[in-house]
């Protein structure tokens, strides 16, 4: 174990820059073949180790991995928390809710960010590894429905959204819009936002429904992909976390059903429960948090931590203001 760690340290010190320097030092015309071997070996070594990170003076390192929806928020928290606690280093990585939870199950992640609850099979897998995942609600999120600013449509019911995203409605004129084809934008099927949208909107929350996204739905690998397409294409309708909606996209007011009021997603409407497409965001720890992690999670739900939630366009927990 100790040996392994020493080896890892040695690897970390091999930054690409140092590899290049070593290569140059070895260079002499008659030793070309030696040089090439050295370079090959060094490149292989460099490829093995992740981007070199100087751990500096940090005593405790916390791996915080998961949901791409939460990643900016988690980064903001880490950046605000670390200057107050120089002994703690919080490494934040995205990759999706599934990635974070998988890491928690494997024991490589200390805090897993998830924009959905853990699935029963994931809990089982964790328990099989001797890990009891503990859930912490850390913020709320609303999914905003976005269209091009020039689109005259400004309100839809959940039923209409379900019909649109499952392909039954394929022209804007069917929902009081212009005569244009509807282009559907979604996040990739492995994102927590995608799963949540499928369950809550496409299937309208029915557990046994088997409705799927239309096969014509464009699956975008990132939020940026969605916002780029929404900005330039008047045919599209997309969805994304409220935190990712920029002012150049138009959000749609949503009603849970006919006869209900149409509500735009805002911090107030989400916290009051009036906006129908909102959810809790989670952090998972292996067992009840202790020490640094417990302190960090307490700070996150404190008014100071929740202020950042508001800044990033998510919805702060009301508990933070009581």
């Amino acid at each position: 174990m100790e040996k392994e760690q020493a080896f890892l340290c040695a690897q970390r010190r091999l930054t690409p820059w140092r590899v290049a320097c070593l290569g140059c030092r070895c260079y002499n015309p008659s030793g070309m073949h030696k040089l090439s071997i050295v370079i090959v070996i060094l490149v292989l070594l460099a490829a093995c180790c992740p981007a070199a990170e100087e751990t500096g003076a940090a005593d405790v390192s916390v791996q915080n991995v998961g949901s791409d929806t939460i990643v900016n928020l988690a980064l903001a928290w880490a950046e605000a928390y670390q200057p107050q606690h120089p002994e703690v280093r919080i490494a934040v990585t995205g990759g999706g809710s599934g990635t974070g939870i998988a890491g928690l199950i494997n024991g490589t992640v200390d805090i897993a960010n998830a924009s959905r609850g853990m699935k029963p099979e994931e809990r089982e897998a964790a328990q099989a590894n001797g890990i009891v995942p503990v859930e912490h609600v850390i913020a709320r999120d609303a999914i905003a429905i976005v269209v091009h600013p020039s689109n005259p449509v400004d309100h839809l019911t959940l039923q209409q959204l379900s019909d649109i995203f499952s392909g039954y409605i394929s022209n804007w004129s069917e929902v009081e819009g212009e005569d244009r084809p509807i282009v559907l934008l979604s996040r990739e099927s492995n994102s927590g936002t995608h799963v949540y949208f499928l369950e809550q909107v496409v299937r309208l929350g029915h557990q046994d429904a088997t409705t799927l996204f239309s096969p014509d739905t464009l699956l975008m690998p990132s939020s940026e992909g969605i916002s780029a397409e929404v900005r330039q294409n008047p045919n599209v309708i997309g969805y994304d976390g409220l935190g990712y909606v920029t002012p150049d996209q138009k959000t749609i007011a949503v009603a849970p059903g006919p006869g209900w009021p149409f509500v735009l997603p805002t911090i107030e409407t989400v916290n009051s429960g009036a906006y129908p497409i909102s959810r809790d965001l989670y952090m998972y720890t292996a067992g009840e948090p202790e020490g640094v992690i417990a302190d960090y999670l307490t700070w996150i739900v404190s008014p100071e931590g929740q202020a950042l939630v508001r800044e990033l366009g998510f919805v702060p927990l009301e508990v933070g203001f009581h």
Partner: protein
């Protein structure tokens, strides 16, 4: 004199040892390459092979790809890759052939010296950069000019892939044309053929297996490309069999693997299916490269015969 002789003798002995060591090292690297290839294949079979036990073949031949709910129809993905690659071939093969003929046969010497290195630099542009160009320039053009509902289409993917395959096609085809013996051209011209006739009836046919190799290598690059395709094709797993499919989004095999591998639970059926897709891709590129290598081999034999 005597002294110097032993010195050079010793040096020769040392050179012989170095020679031996270097030779063995090169041999070892060669063997390693084959070994790696074999290992990759074994790895793919080991991880992907289980698919064929877990998912009935009939399910894989369906048209719905939605792995979250165990819809593992590979048809839209395979057809998507083939459509985009076909489009890339339509874009890049004529352009590549004409450019290589121009560079090898028509362009004056100085222009050739400039063009060749520039085309080789094109090959080095990272695909993610080309993906951005496709997303921000090509796809809006396709939507506005061609009336597609969205610009993120198979056509956008084909254009980007064609562009990426071009440098490979041009430089390999140009080398093949360059290797046609000068006596062929001299003979054709001496018989009264025009320059045009010489190029199309003598030089290009003489280099045809090399040109074919170039095209195969270019297509091999196109079918395996991931990043740019994922950014511009829209990744909708629809079956692209209608006439307007080039103006509709598609999902390729490569983009599917890249987008889904990151989050899939290890050892799950979905994981195995992704490896099976990798296996299909591997076999397709392997066949393409094999055909290319075979045609190089044939060309080599032709020249061997000519020179003897």
């Amino acid at each position: 004199m005597h002294w110097g002789n032993t010195g050079s003798g010793r040096r020769q002995a040392r050179l012989a040892i170095i020679e031996y060591v270097v030779e063995r090292l090169i041999q070892a690297t060669g063997i390693l390459v084959i070994l790696f290839l074999a290992l990759i294949f074994i790895f793919l079979v080991r991880e992907g092979g289980a698919t064929f036990l877990e998912v009935p073949l009939g399910d894989m031949l369906r048209t719905r790809w939605y792995p979250n709910e165990a819809y593992f129809g590979l048809v839209p993905l395979v057809l998507g890759s083939l459509l985009v690659t076909l489009g890339a071939a339509i874009v890049s093969l004529p352009l590549g052939l004409l450019s290589s003929v121009f560079i090898a046969e028509v362009a004056p010497r100085w222009m050739r010296e400039v063009l060749k290195p520039f085309i080789e630099v094109l090959a080095g542009i990272p695909s993610v950069v080309l993906g951005f160009v496709g997303m921000l320039i090509v796809s809006p053009l396709i939507r506005e000019r061609l009336g597609a509902p969205t610009g993120l289409t198979a056509l956008a993917g084909s254009v980007m892939l064609g562009y990426m395959a071009l440098p490979t096609i041009i430089s390999v085809a140009e080398d093949a044309l360059d290797a046609v013996p000068k006596s062929y051209r001299d003979a054709a011209l001496a018989l009264g053929a025009t320059r045009w006739q010489t190029i199309w009836r003598v030089t290009v046919p003489a280099a045809r297996s090399g040109i074919f190799t170039a095209m195969m290598l270019g297509m091999g690059r196109a079918i395996g490309e991931t990043m740019a395709v994922m950014m511009v094709t829209g990744n909708a797993a629809r079956v692209p069999l209608t006439l307007d499919s080039f103006l509709r989004p598609v999902r390729t095999m490569t983009a599917t693997i890249a987008a889904e591998m990151g989050e899939v639970a290890q050892g799950s059926i979905h994981y195995h299916v992704l490896f099976a897709i990798g296996l299909v891709l591997f076999l397709v590129t392997f066949i393409i490269n094999l055909v290319a290598a075979w045609s190089i081999f044939r060309q080599g034999k032709r020249y061997g015969r000519l020179l003897s």
